[in-house]
């Protein structure tokens, strides 16, 4: 049984690191596109690209080799991602507020989004959690990790953040396609279910299914967004405009990343219940 537990633990670390990798990938592609749109007007706009790329490498390695002890690189990456994400949030808020009209819907629609830097913070935090667990430690400072509940809570809150972003931007698109309601209806249910499991300390099968659907939704969403790009004038032949003007391709997989990490948390919770 101890071996099974060990194996479960390893799988959980893989999932959490894998979720962080997916999130970092989403951030890399998204900030790459969006900061290219912003002409890298501020030199700091390269930072999220660098840190998310670094995060992909570090978390990807962790997902493949959960036991690797590693060097200082993972810590530098995770702390960097979290810090750059937080600073990015500040910059993005400033970008929105300095526009005429301040915190208006139009500025929230078209100004710098809160979601992307927040995703970078989450990628850093999840990566750090996976690292800590891999090193056999069970807490970061006051936060207890081994139960999986803290990670579950983080994923739940993260999902709500992503839902908020999707709700805002799909509102910008006037929900012109009924499928645009999916990411604002399904993931919140998954998030509520996950948070309930965290509070009850009781992982449920339903949550697994909901998280699985949310993960799939992230990938399907990318397909929908590709279709959305094609619906703009000139379609994919006019990709230089439409990849920026159409719905963002890299955004939906953030749901996938969070859901994968959520699986890891659930697995840890289940494992602890099983083995006390």
């Amino acid at each position: 049984m101890a071996q099974a537990s060990q194996a479960d633990g390893t799988v959980a670390i893989r999932l959490i690191a894998g979720g962080a990798t997916t999130l970092a990938s989403s951030v890399l592609a998204d900030s790459g596109l969006e900061h290219y749109r912003g002409s890298f007007a501020n030199k700091a706009m390269v930072l999220p690209l660098a840190s998310s790329a670094f995060g992909i490498a570090v978390n990807g390695r962790r997902a493949q080799q959960p036991e690797s002890r590693g060097t200082a690189a993972p810590t530098v990456s995770h702390v960097g991602s979290t810090a750059i994400g937080l600073i990015g949030l500040g910059f993005h808020a400033y970008n929105v507020l300095k526009r005429p009209g301040g915190p208006s819907f139009t500025n929230l629609f078209y100004g710098a989004p809160a979601g992307a830097p927040a995703a970078l913070v989450l990628a850093g935090a999840l990566g750090k959690a996976a690292d800590t667990l891999a090193q056999g430690k069970d807490r970061i400072g006051p936060v207890e990790l081994a139960s999986g509940r803290a990670i579950g809570a983080m994923v739940g809150v993260g999902l709500f953040g992503s839902v908020g972003e999707a709700a805002l931007l799909h509102f910008r698109g006037a929900y012109h396609d009924p499928f645009m309601w999916l990411p604002v209806t399904l993931p919140p249910i998954a998030a509520v279910s996950l948070l309930r499991d965290v509070i009850d300390d009781h992982p449920r099968q339903a949550t697994m299914i909901l998280l699985g659907t949310t993960a799939a939704l992230g990938l399907i969403g990318m397909g929908f967004h590709a279709y959305g790009v094609a619906r703009n004038m000139g379609g994919w032949k006019n990709w230089r405009q439409n990849i920026l003007a159409g719905p963002p391709l890299p955004a939906p997989p953030a749901f996938t990343g969070l859901a994968i990490a959520g699986f890891g948390a659930l697995l840890m919770m289940r494992q602890r219940r099983r083995h006390g």
């Binding site: 004038m233 006019n238 405009q241």
Partner: protein, 212 residues
Amino acid sequence: MVDRFPHYDVLAKRDTPSWNPQTRKVIGDRLATEEPEVLTPGQRATLRAVVDRIVPQPEQRPATNATALVLHKIMTNESDGFRHHELPQVREAWERGLDAIDAEAQERLGHPFAILDGDKADEILRAIEQGDVQAAAWASLPAMLFWSWRLIPDIVSAYYAHPSAWSAMGFGGPAAPRGYVRLQANRRDPWEAAERDDGRVISAEERNIHVG
């Protein structure tokens, strides 16, 4: 005047998504428009000289065919959809107007308008603009009305229908199916003109070579 948009050429985007087939045809036809055999040779010479003074050709860029385009409009006698009640139709207005301009030059300076140097030509044109005219020909054609309702709109419309003029002003030119993404101040899409800015690492020349 320094070229504000060095090496920028709207025509470089001809084969990009910025130009649809119908635009390529329309602009292609326009660039190929030559002076039609309309009006007398003397009137045509006067018109050429007037056009040169009203809209000097861009420096360091291909010349526009504004005169040919104005002549084309005169030939087709194409209305704009309105006519000042004291003016005749397009073709007749131009015939009378060009004769009157020439008569004004003869009257004041004793030379045909077409051979005047720039300053002298401008002196005549300014007189017409202000209605301060002497030639009898203006009796049937109010000079100021001809100037502001016919001469100026027709000539500047012809000149600014030409891609060379668009390039010189850093205008994006045709834009369909591809439009623009970056709408904020001081932002340009890679398919827009870069303005000369000596402080930049990559010069406007270099950027404009890659516009497409």
